[in-house]
């Protein structure tokens, strides 16, 4: 079990850019032919209202992340030449190869002395990305840009009424550097025995892409999907979450010798409101300390959901005062992790929606 602590390393800026198009659940109800009862149920139990996806299908993860990173360069006293590493956590890279992070090094005008590579993770990706960046700072690097996000609308099949209405597109950029007096404690887990519960089956070397990969075949619930799209076994993932996440919190607090009352905010991966309510109940944490509104408004933003929640709902407290926080991610892999840390008046502007502009590779 990986448990690691760091001193004097912290986050200085968090910016999130969502896709530029807002889709409402009422529009999707019409498209998927939900009856009135199902629609009511989705709104009431799941909190579905709207989500943001890319307006133009040629907008990629890198475009959303570059827009977020540019905002950091505009707002913070930071030279591009100071960035020594660029990490991108994504499941929707611009190309099968090479790593999108390397292409972003050039687009962002970073030095060719920059370390850059992709990390293939989803909902636990922010925690694992943060951990990797902290390791690199401890190894001697000074400033790191961590980018996280997906254009999930590209891997959710348009006819999949279970997954598609859940998914939102977003890309975040996070600046990490030495910060005196900040302590962080990580716990990280992986369990590959559940890899089939969230999977894009075709297109890798195990099941190469063929003409059949594009056939939409109904599953046992009658929901059509192609083998190049993301499949989610909802009940298995829910069951995994309620079993491992509360246990991980207890483990983290015990490891960090902390009490949950000391924590100002619990920012969890925003799977959906229903799962978060169940976790909050088990943790006995007040709902005001555990935001749950991201999926309802923006969609499930995968690895960008924790930064996305900060920019959407916590930009004021994170910008104005020191906060003790727990971040926790859980999902595809299966993979889960959490960190107890502090943020001290960071640059965290309200969430942005993508507008095509200069520097776009696709434009």
């Amino acid at each position: 079990m990986a448990k690691i602590s760091f001193n004097d390393i912290g986050i200085s800026a968090i910016v999130t850019t969502t896709g530029g198009r807002r889709v409402t659940i009422d529009e999707e109800a019409e498209r998927f032919g939900y009856d009135e009862r199902t629609l009511k149920r989705l709104k009431r139990s799941m909190g579905f209202e709207s989500r943001y996806v890319v307006a133009d299908p040629s907008v990629c993860t890198s475009d959303l992340c570059v827009a977020s990173a540019e905002k950091i360069f505009e707002a913070c006293e930071l030279e591009r030449s100071e960035i020594e590493a660029l990490l991108l956590v994504t499941q929707t890279p611009d190309y099968r190869a090479p790593s999108t992070a390397i292409i972003m090094q050039d687009r962002l005008g970073l030095s060719t002395d920059t370390v850059a590579f992709d990390i293939n993770l989803g909902c636990s990706g922010f925690i694992n990305g943060l951990y990797t960046a902290y390791c690199m700072i401890r190894s001697g690097l000074k400033k790191i840009l961590l980018c996280v996000g997906d254009v999930a609308s590209r891997f959710a099949y348009e006819g999949d009424r279970n997954l598609t209405p859940l998914m939102g597109d977003a890309g975040s950029a996070i600046l990490i550097e030495a910060k005196e007096g900040i302590e962080s404690h990580f716990v990280l887990h992986s369990d590959g025995s559940g890899y089939e519960h969230l999977i894009i089956p075709d297109g890798g070397c195990r099941h190469p892409f063929t003409a059949r990969s594009l056939e939409a075949v109904p599953d046992s619930d009658g929901v059509p999907r192609r083998r190049v799209d993301m499949y989610m076994n909802g009940p298995e993932i829910f069951n995994f979450t309620i079993k491992v996440v509360p246990k991980m919190f207890r483990e983290l607090l015990e490891y960090a010798h902390a009490q949950k009352e000391e924590v100002d905010y619990f920012v969890l991966h925003q799977a959906n409101r229903y799962i978060l309510q169940n976790i909050a109940k088990r943790l006995e944490v007040d709902a005001s300390k555990l935001p749950m509104g991201t999926v309802g408004k923006y969609g499930n933003q995968n690895s960008a959901s924790i930064p996305g929640t900060i920019n959407a709902f916590l930009h004021e407290p994170f910008s104005s005062a020191r906060q003790k926080v727990v971040f926790a991610g859980f999902g595809i892999g299966l993979s889960w992790g959490a960190v107890l840390t502090e943020v001290d008046r960071i640059y965290a502007p309200p969430i942005e929606h993508y507008q095509a502009g200069k520097g776009d590779e696709h434009a």
């Binding site: 199902t38 009940p235 298995e236 829910f238 069951n239 309620i242």
Partner: protein
């Protein structure tokens, strides 16, 4: 916990106005859908009953649901 209390708990979790008995068919219950199954999984987990998603696949009646939690009932 007594069986009658468990059935009352199930009714609350599913959020139905129907009166439930052991013989009630699950497919006839308003709101017995995928969200209801998640809610029941969560409810059973809180009661300390270990269940997996596949345990819910073959169930026909409220009695079958109750039997999943048989180990925690006092009146068995």
């Amino acid at each position: 916990m007594r069986e009658a209390d468990l059935i009352e708990g199930i009714k609350e979790v599913i959020d139905t106005e129907m009166e439930l008995s052991r013989e009630t068919l699950l497919e006839e219950i308003d709101y017995y859908d995928s969200v209801a199954v998640l809610s029941l999984m969560s409810y059973f987990d809180e009661l300390g009953v270990g269940v997996a998603p596949k345990d819910f696949e073959e169930l026909k009646t409220v009695g079958d649901l109750v039997d999943l939690a048989g180990s925690i009932l006092d009146d068995r």
